[in-house]
């Protein structure tokens, strides 16, 4: 079977790179990005992308066109050839995902059931975004396992050691006696009204 160039795959990879780095990758980087073994193959792919209007060649360098970078900003329609003024302003916007999630590989969702953090604005039914793998700092809200019991609390430190504080006068602060496992740090709360 003849090898088929995966143009759509290439475009997707360039887009991700662009979104992250705000620049085009160099030839060497494209080698890895596209999974090619030779720079000549990269060159061929670039020519194809240029033909399709995803890239332009300026002073021998490949420059991304709006076609490649523009997927996130389809809001401002271009009228009669004049770019909408909003278009430029929207070039550097974040999606809600990017805004809420700092480390996508380490982020999990958890539906809150209890009311121990009610004064912190976290009520039963809320969805919290929890990041694993970090070290909590005082005043962070953490999901933690204290002596085999899972709980959502403020992480605090004092002379006696770690203390977990609720945000609800109904409950008391707790101190781990045997064990403390941090399941993750709460990074955002999501509540939908519908």
């Amino acid at each position: 079977m003849p090898r088929v160039m995966d143009i759509q795959g290439h475009v997707a990879k360039l887009r991700t790179f662009w979104r992250r780095e705000r620049r085009m990758p160099g030839y060497g980087e494209m080698l890895g990005l596209f999974g090619y073994q030779s720079k000549n193959a990269v060159f061929g792919a670039l020519r194809k992308l240029e033909e399709l209007g995803f890239l332009e060649r300026k002073r021998g360098r490949a420059v991304a066109t709006g076609r490649l970078t523009g997927t996130l900003r389809l809001l401002g329609a271009v009228q009669a050839g004049f770019p909408s003024p909003a278009e430029e302003e929207l070039a550097d916007t974040l999606s809600l995902d990017e805004f809420l999630i700092r480390r996508p590989e380490a982020t999990f969702m958890l539906t809150v059931q209890g009311d121990s953090m009610i004064a912190a604005g976290i009520v039963p039914g809320d969805l919290v975004l929890v990041e694993k793998g970090g070290t909590p700092r005082p005043n962070d809200i953490v999901v933690a396992q204290v002596d085999d019991e899972w709980t959502l609390k403020y992480y605090m430190k004092d002379a006696e050691g770690v203390r977990l504080d609720p945000a609800n006068p109904k409950y008391k602060s707790i101190r781990p006696k045997r064990s403390l496992v941090i399941g993750g740090i709460v990074k955002a709360v999501i509540r939908k009204y519908d």
Partner: protein
């Protein structure tokens, strides 16, 4: 036998193989922290164990055992339905974490992959072993699951390494250590040696992978052809199989197989299940811009006996509807009325690129183009609203065999969030904790 090193260099190439430890069960324990340390198995919906946690393995339970036998062996067993959506999310993340260290990552399967680390010591200011250990620690800290790692000069050696110590294992086999390692590796452990090859090699007096690798060049090729020569080289530290970073797009065949929640003898239902598999298989065919020339259908009976038939299509096909008359014929000749079946399977073979379309003399190009346009519209709708939102009419009969046990649904699907639907859910794993 004196052991001569095959190479004196430690890592002319550095290839890491990583393998999730009891992956499905570990993911379940990660999203259900309450299940940590307990014997957990997945595969409830199929009645067979798909994956057993290390706690369950310690009690003698392993993959493939029938569920009722397992429960008899271990009454406290936690049995969960498979949640492939969450497993896939974890899998994706595992590979993304590997890509922090190197762009050359191969997604070999849902729970294992290769990464080429050659030349990365300078960027990360440390040894290859340390890079691999950092990756292993990241996975544990961020995903709360564990992987076992093998690090060596070739894919075959790295894979032997990751299997050597499990779970949470780390086995490095630098060049000078290869002969010693292979000397204690039985033949059947080698990636690519099936039972027949092992039997053949044993007849020639070989016992270990080391015996095989220390045969003279050409011996393996004479016995096993090109593959033999390649494996011989790979085991001696000569990297012949590159880490494939490209997403898999050159398939030899595409197959779909789904087991029913409980066996059924209702032909309409079995047909509906088969059509659903055919739709899924063709969806994948179209996504990779391929067409199929060959089609096989298999029906698995309640007692696991399997009947199958295959046909060659008179022209390569990428649309479900074009293949369906052929599938129906096969189905009619396979099915035995009144017999109970537990699974249907379809295999599409002889795949070729869909780039150039050529018509037969007697075909009606307009009609074909129209059907292709219809197919694209259906795909676009399903892309937008979720897989199988719009599907062929036989799927109406899928409802006939409604699941009796609601517990057969993973929690992700039974406890939907507001705004999620049966077809589409948020692409972030959910933790199930009572806080």
């Amino acid at each position: 036998m004196a052991e001569f090193p095959f190479t004196l260099q430690s890592y002319p190439r550095a290839i890491m193989h990583f393998d999730g430890d009891a992956f499905f069960a570990a993911v379940e324990q990660s999203i259900h922290p309450g299940l940590k340390g307990q014997p957990v198995v997945t595969g409830k919906e199929r009645g067979i164990i798909a994956c057993a946690s290390y706690e369950a393995k310690a009690l003698g339970i392993s993959r493939g055992i029938a569920l009722h036998d397992a429960i008899r062996m271990c009454p406290g067993l936690k049995v969960l339905p498979s949640d492939y959506e969450t497993y896939s999310l974890y899998s994706k993340r595992m590979f993304d974490i590997a890509r922090r260290y190197t762009p050359m990552v191969e997604e070999y399967s849902i729970d294992e992959g290769f990464a080429d680390l050659t030349g990365l010591r300078r960027i990360h200011h440390t040894s290859y072993e340390e890079i691999a250990l950092r990756f292993q620690a990241d996975i544990r800290a961020e995903l709360d699951i564990t992987v076992s790692i093998g690090l060596s000069l070739t894919k075959s050696l790295a894979k032997l390494g990751s299997k050597f110590r499990k779970p949470r294992g780390f086995t490095a086999i630098p060049g000078p250590d290869i002969p010693g390692f292979l000397g204690q590796t039985p033949l059947e452990k080698v990636w690519g040696f099936g039972p027949n090859t092992v039997a053949l090699l044993t007849k020639h007096g070989l016992k270990t992978a080391g015996d095989f690798a220390s045969r003279p060049e050409g011996w393996a090729e004479r016995l096993m052809g090109k593959v033999g020569r390649e494996l011989w080289g790979e085991l001696r530290g000569d990297s012949l199989y590159p880490v494939e970073t490209e997403e898999k797009s050159s398939y030899c065949s595409i197959s779909k197989c789904k087991t029913f929640t409980s066996p059924s003898s209702d032909p309409e239902f079995i047909w509906a299940k088969l059509v659903r598999n055919v739709e899924s298989a063709f969806l994948k065919v179209r996504r990779h811009r391929l067409r199929a020339r060959q089609l096989a259908v298999m029906l698995r009976r309640q007692d696991y006996r399997q009947d199958g038939l295959e046909i060659r299509l008179n022209r390569p096909v990428s649309m479900t509807r074009d293949a369906l008359p052929g599938v129906r014929e096969l189905f009619e000749s396979l099915i035995e009325r009144g017999a109970a079946y537990r699974a249907t399977m379809v295999v599409l073979g002889k795949l070729e690129s869909d780039a150039e379309r050529q018509y037969d003399l007697f075909e009606d190009p307009v009609r074909i183009e129209k059907r292709a346009a219809l197919g694209e519209a259906v795909d676009a709708l399903n892309e937008r609203y979720g897989k199988h939102t719009l599907s062929l009419a036989p799927s109406l009969f899928l409802g006939r065999h409604r699941k009796t046990d609601r517990d057969d649904q993973p929690q992700r699907k039974s406890a939907l969030l507001s705004g999620e639907t049966r077809r589409q859910r948020l692409h972030i794993p959910r933790l199930f904790l009572n806080v």
